[in-house]
Subunit: 149 residues, 2 copies
């Protein structure tokens, strides 16, 4: 079970922009910082701009920045919007042909598990990614800033 690369990259891009809130950032520098594909990032940028989570400035010296404060971007909103679908098993999709869907108890259990999964992200915003690391330290923001320097 995996999230798509798109969602992974969306999180990384938002994180990068939050850390560099004092200036415009380019796709090229973000791709370089994470060593990831620039064309993939372009697609993500397009989507995040459409959602008005980031704003882009064209031309020389242009780039992008967050259009909202990090504590206004819910991680649940990111994952629900950017991930193409949550069709865990066939009966979650529109092309469902499973013959026992009507009687099977698995669908409801899958939905309960999915709700619990999304529910976890609903407790956090982009700011939480910056402020906490695996050890629970509050120094992460500074460490990430320094790392990207």
């Amino acid at each position: 079970m995996r999230l798509t690369v798109r969602t992974d990259y969306a999180f990384r891009m938002l994180l990068y922009l939050a850390v560099h809130s004092d200036r415009l950032c380019t796709i090229s520098e973000i791709a370089k910082a994470y060593k990831i594909s620039e064309p993939h990032l372009m697609k993500v940028t397009h989507q995040l701009a459409q959602l008005e989570w980031i704003e882009t400035v064209r031309g020389k010296g242009g780039g992008m920045r967050l259009a909202r404060q990090p504590d206004e971007i819910s991680l649940a909103e990111v994952i629900k919007t950017v991930e193409p679908d949550f069709h865990l098993v066939e009966c979650f999709g529109n092309d469902n042909e499973c013959s026992i869907t009507e009687y099977c108890g698995l669908t409801a259990i899958m939905q309960e598990a999915l709700d619990a999964f999304i529910g976890c992200f609903a407790k956090y915003t982009l700011l939480d990614i910056l402020k906490s690391n695996q050890a629970g330290s509050d120094e992460s923001f500074e460490k990430i800033v320094n790392f990207f320097k």
Copy 2:
């Protein structure tokens, strides 16, 4: 975000065998009942037999049956064992190259969400899929049996 077809088919196969506990079943009939790929099911069968959740009888009149009672098969155990991996984002895998893993707070939040997801399945066994449907009726088992007849 999707589970692999393998996990979907494992659940369906276990369900089918639980419903037909009075006799041996063949891969061919299960594939036909769900209108799914026989070669895919064969791989699933092999894995479930290795795990000793099902037992197979070779030869003419052979087939397979559950090797445990439905209430002894935890849905969490199925999903954790059959699903190849839970590498939600790059930093969950062995080939992780994300440069900020050490400082990023997202990994811990992803893990929390994954634990909540798996935790839901831990509350249920194969018997629960048979006994409950989306409407919470206890008549599902009978309906599924009749459907497959």
